[in-house]
């Protein structure tokens, strides 16, 4: 066993949000990073230049954000609003409203629509080209069995995870009803869901240190591939401490993925070979969100207390951007047998 590489958390961005970080995302076109926070702000950073490029203040905590193109984005706020943000002009307008805080937001390049999930137990699709009037921008409202907790898109597939361990898989071209209605394979509350970049399935994490790898293909052969594994756990004084898995981020090129937990660790996994590829040095507090840059060379890590133990003193919120070594994320070919031993 060789010595572990020197622990490094990556470069910390200056001007971090002043309260919990709810999500962060890299742009599909540049190294710009959009960050939403409980301090009611959405911030735009240039990650490679370590510069704050824009800031938008909202009426309530911002629970999620995403890019539209490189010059605009969307945000989901606890003040029930869905907003469109134009970075160049520092302008924002309200796309519409939910009846409760909006938990997650996604932009679909396939349909050109914004999709939001809210604690009002609905999903809404928006056309961002519609004028500021809600009746013009709202495309549809789709009832969910429970409050929406996490959402992910790949191609025309949309996976929605709600409270009560429900998972709905939609085809964006026919939103009238879910393509598949599922129950989470994990027994505890769903924390995060992310689709595989190759569009064949999704990874789902729970509050109980476990990640399930699922497949859309409902055939027996397809379903036989699914599995779940434990992670983000710690054995201490004979007790096993299990941490929530807050974030999953897939590498855009290799299809491997990173998970972040309340233990402050980020692990990189090879889902096909069922191996852990790497574990990064511990971050000061919970890892709240993760995002790989478009070329997979950078990984943004939000180290921010996620309120899992209620209001308590905690480490300051911070964003780390680390460059990713290929060896940390590249799947290793099947381990060759070593007959000598």
């Amino acid at each position: 066993m060789t010595a572990a590489p020197p622990p490094s958390t990556g470069r910390e961005l200056s001007n971090p949000p002043t309260d919990g970080i709810s999500n962060l995302r890299f742009s599909n076109h540049s190294d710009h990073l959009l960050v939403s926070s409980w301090d009611k702000s959405v911030r735009l950073y240039d990650a490679s230049a370590n510069a704050l490029r824009g800031e938008f203040m909202h009426g309530g905590a911002v629970l999620d954000c995403c890019f539209h193109d490189d010059s605009s984005g969307f945000s989901a706020s606890a003040d029930h609003t869905v907003r469109r943000l134009v970075f160049n002009y520092n302008r924002e307008d309200i796309l519409g409203r939910h009846d409760a805080p909006v938990r997650c937001i996604e932009y679909s390049y396939a349909t050109g629509q914004v999709i939001t999930g809210s604690w009002d137990k609905t999903l809404k699709c928006w056309d961002p080209r519609g004028a500021s009037a809600q009746e013009r921008s709202l495309v549809g409202t789709y009832a969910q069995p429970e409050r929406v907790y996490s959402m992910s898109l790949v191609g025309n597939r949309l996976v929605v995870a709600t409270a009560g361990r429900h998972v709905n898989v939609y085809d964006l071209r026919n939103m009238s009803q879910p393509e598949q209605r599922r129950e989470s394979s994990l027994k505890y509350q769903t924390r995060c869901v992310r689709c595989y970049p190759n569009g064949t399935g999704y990874a789902l994490s729970s509050v109980e240190g476990r990640v399930a790898m699922e497949f859309f293909d409902l055939s027996e052969a397809g379903q036989s591939k699914k599995y779940a594994f434990k992670c983000h756990r710690k054995s201490e004084a004979g007790r096993d401490i299990v941490y929530p898995v807050n974030a999953i981020a897939f590498h855009p090129i290799y299809g491997t993925f990173a998970t972040g937990g309340c233990d402050g660790y980020v692990n990189v996994w090879d889902g096909n070979n069922k191996k852990r590829l790497y574990q990064y040095a511990k971050y000061p507090t919970s890892v709240a969100a993760l995002s790989f840059s478009r070329d997979g060379r950078l990984l943004a890590v939000a180290s921010s207390y996620t309120y899992e133990e209620g209001d308590k003193p905690h480490e300051p919120d911070a964003i780390f951007v680390r460059s990713v070594n290929e060896v940390e994320v590249k799947p290793k070919p099947k381990m060759l047998p070593n007959p000598a031993t």
């Binding site: 066993m1 572990a4 590489p5 622990p7 919990g20 076109h29 905590a61 629970l63 193109d69 490189d70 606890a78 805080p101 349909t111 050109g112 604690w119 080209r129 025309n156 409270a163 009560g164 071209r173 394979s185 994990l186 027994k187 509350q189 924390r191 970049p197 190759n198 509050v207 109980e208 399930a212 599995y227 779940a228 434990k230 756990r233 007790r239 096993d240 941490y243 929530p244 299809g255 070979n273 069922k274 191996k275 852990r276 590829l277 790497y278 574990q279 990064y280 478009r294 309120y307 899992e308 133990e309 209620g310 290793k332 070919p333 099947k334 381990m335 060759l336 047998p337 007959p339 031993t341």
Partner: protein, 703 residues
């Protein structure tokens, strides 16, 4: 005048009667004078007689008397002379007056150009003549004045028009002076015709100016400029719609210059618009090709996508319809107001910029999708993506300008077709590889299963396991044939292609070879073991012979002694400390059961790790299925996972450089436990206060 005749009778009387008589005879025609003269003669005679009487009385001397008479006569003569002079002077004046009048008359006639009026000379006395000529003269003078005013009028008009035409503000004084000597009708006609000419020219110019103004107005409308200010800059009077407009040559010249300039501007802008339009077309073309692309490839799947994509251009095009329309129009046909105004063109240009940006991002999207497709195919065919194309086929290389988007697309397309072709050729072999791998998986499962001592214990699902094991054994028996077929196939493929067949970057042949070698090694190991067993048997019989007792067969199956040193376990160096224990459990494998392949070994090994440490020979599944109630838990849901708590988890504290196997455990599909649970809330909901008060319970998260 009568006084002139006062004294002639006296002189007649006194001296020269003949002289007086002639005088009187001259005046004889005048009866009145004669009568008067007679009266005077009598008066003079009586006076003379009286004088003679006085003298007689006085006794005046004769010479004195003569002297006095002579004086008297002399005085009379002087008086006559004076009167005659006076009369002759008067006559001369009259004559002069007549002559003057005649001369004036003649002048006027000459000036008016009329024929000279024939005058009847000598008709009567001078005074009559004068009386006759004076009214005529007055007449003519009046006529001349009239004529003069006519001239003045015409000249004034000519002057004003020529002033307008020349554009000068000062009066042209030379033309204002009327030639007094030529007031003939002919000249008037000349002047009038000149005036007409000038008026015609003025009309012409006015029309010209109005035409130009119309053209200018149209241009200004098209270009979105202020017509009034443009025109006022040429000449201030032009902007005034009601007043007279300047029509001087300068104005016309500068007007036409302005028109020329604006036309130039219009042409320039049109070129810009044409460039813009071609860009718009280029963009549409790219979008169309993009659409076509997807139509061909994913026709069914992208129908909705297409509609949405088509949606955008239609809306955008609507705004700029007028612009795209100009492509076909010639310069003269562009007349729509503001269609070439600067703001409009600017708007259009910013739109083009936006569209270009959009195009860029669309292209990037297409390229990344292409890449995805390429990678997908590669992945499907278990080919290494990296080896197939250089990293330069990425979006960044477009941005850096190293390669044009169309080239990149073409290259990607080429790569895709190449990869597709290769994937097709690999298909048959891949199917076999899949079968082989599946068989290996079954083999390893079987191996593991065989190691389970409790496998025949009656329990839920055991019959399924038995069935699976039965099937697995059949499959495992087929493996050697499978491997042979696969190897020959791969070899022919390699011969055909002259390259190594790589499966996920590893040579297939070498994979097979390694598998075979490993199998061979295991076979040898097994043989050795069998020999050892035989030896032991011999030893036992010997012992029996010596001590007369035979160890019971159950005790002889002591695990410790039957360490076969299973290869795969020892490879797992990270858990080297446990290897001894592993070894113990591995001995449980039945002698004839197949040996697990290496690829699946790691997973199974991990299970064993756990099992080894807990010292329980439990399937992981069974472990999870049996919840053991632990006191620390308040929420019943947690009981499910009690077991792992007691287990130490083999995660190294320091990040390993070697990859670790995941702790996979198939989570059983037990029905939801939500019924027992209270309404759950996420951390975010708690934090945002989105929790109804009665449900506020301890956070579920940490144990």
């Amino acid at each position: 005048m009568d006084s002139v005749y006062l004294f002639p009778p006296l002189s007649f009387w006194i001296s020269d009667a003949l002289c007086f008589g002639s005088l009187l005879s001259q005046q004889a025609s005048h009866n009145r004078y004669i009568y008067q003269g007679l009266e005077m003669e009598s008066t003079c005679g009586s006076l003379l007689f009286e004088l003679q009487k006085i003298w007689d009385e006085v006794g005046e001397a004769d010479n004195e008397r003569d002297k006095m008479l002579f004086e008297l006569e002399q005085e009379c003569l002087d008086a006559y002379k004076r009167k005659v002079d006076q009369a002759s002077r008067c006559r001369a004046q009259l004559r002069q007056a007549v002559a003057d009048a005649e001369a004036q008359l003649a002048d006027i006639y000459a000036a008016l150009g009329d024929r000279p009026v024939h005058m009847n000379k000598s008709s009567g006395s001078l005074k009559k003549e004068l009386h006759a000529i004076m009214p005529q003269l007055e007449d003519m003078k009046k006529k001349r004045n009239e004529r003069k005013s006519q001239f003045a009028e015409v000249l004034k008009q000519i002057n004003s028009i020529s002033k307008e035409l020349s554009g000068s503000t000062e009066d042209n004084l030379t033309t204002m002076i009327i030639d007094e000597h030529d007031l003939s009708m002919k000249r008037l006609d000349d002047l009038q015709s000149q005036l007409l000419l000038l008026q015609k020219e003025k009309g012409e110019r006015l029309r010209q100016v109005l035409d130009q103004l119309n053209v200018l107005n149209a241009l200004c409308m098209v270009l979105g400029m202020d017509f009034k200010s443009t025109v006022c800059s040429v000449h201030p009077t032009l902007g005034d719609s009601s007043g007279t407009k300047s029509i001087s040559a300068d104005t016309i010249k500068s007007l036409s210059a302005t028109i020329c300039r604006l036309k130039d501007v219009k042409l320039q802008r049109m070129q810009r618009v044409h460039i813009f339009s071609s860009q718009v077309f280029a963009k549409q073309f790219i979008q169309l090709s993009y659409l076509l692309h997807f139509q061909l490839q994913e026709l069914a799947m992208t129908m909705v996508e297409l509609w949405n994509l088509m949606d955008t251009p239609v809306e955008e095009q609507h705004m700029f319809q007028s612009v795209t329309r100009t492509i076909a129009a010639a310069e003269n046909e562009i007349t729509e107001p503001n269609s070439l105004s600067l703001e409009f063109i600017d708007n259009a240009e910013t739109e083009v910029m936006r569209l270009q940006e959009m195009k860029m991002s669309k292209i990037k999207e297409v390229i990344s999708r292409k890449r995805e497709i390429l990678e997908e195919i590669c992945r499907g065919a278990h080919m290494v993506v990296d080896g197939q194309f250089g990293t330069d086929l990425s979006v960044e290389s477009i941005e850096s300008g190293a390669i044009s988007p169309s080239d990149l697309l073409e290259q990607l397309e080429f790569q895709i077709s190449k990869v597709k072709e290769e994937a097709f050729s690999r298909k048959e072999i891949l199917e076999k590889v899949q079968k082989w791998l599946a068989a290996r998986e079954e083999e390893s499962w079987l191996e593991e299963y065989n190691r389970d001592d409790n496998r025949y214990n009656a329990g839920r699902g055991t019959h399924l396991m038995l069935k699976r094991a039965e099937k697995a054994r059949v499959i495992v028996n087929k493996i050697p044939a499978m491997v042979d077929a696969l190897k020959s196939k791969a070899k022919t493929w390699e011969k055909e292609r002259k390259t190594e067949f790589l499966y996920d970057g590893v040579g297939l042949i070498s994979m097979i070879d390694e598998y075979c070698e490993l199998k061979h090694l295991k076979e040898q190991e097994r043989q050795k073991q069998r020999d050892q067993k035989k030896l032991q048997g011999q030893l036992m019989t010997e012992q029996e012979a010596i001590y007369g007792s035979k160890p019971s067969p159950s005790k002889s199956s002591n695990k410790r002694k039957k360490n076969n040193g299973g290869g795969p376990v020892k490879q797992h160096s990270s858990n080297a400390s446990n290897s001894q224990k592993h070894a113990e459990f591995l001995t449980l494998r039945k002698a004839l059961s197949p040996i697990s392949s290496l690829c699946s070994n790691i997973i199974s090994c991990n299970f064993e790790d756990q099992n080894a440490k807990t010292g329980e020979f439990k399937d992981t599944q069974t472990a999870y299925k049996t919840p053991s109630a632990t006191p620390t838990k308040t929420v019943s849901a947690y009981d499910e996972n009690r077991t792992p708590k007691t287990m130490p988890i083999p995660l190294p504290a320091t990040p390993p450089t070697m990859s670790n196997a995941m702790q996979t455990a198939t989570t059983p599909f037990t029905p939801g436990i939500r019924g027992v649970e209270e309404v759950e809330y996420s951390y975010e909901e708690r934090r945002a206060g989105f929790v109804s008060t009665k449900l506020h319970s301890r956070p579920l998260s940490l144990v």
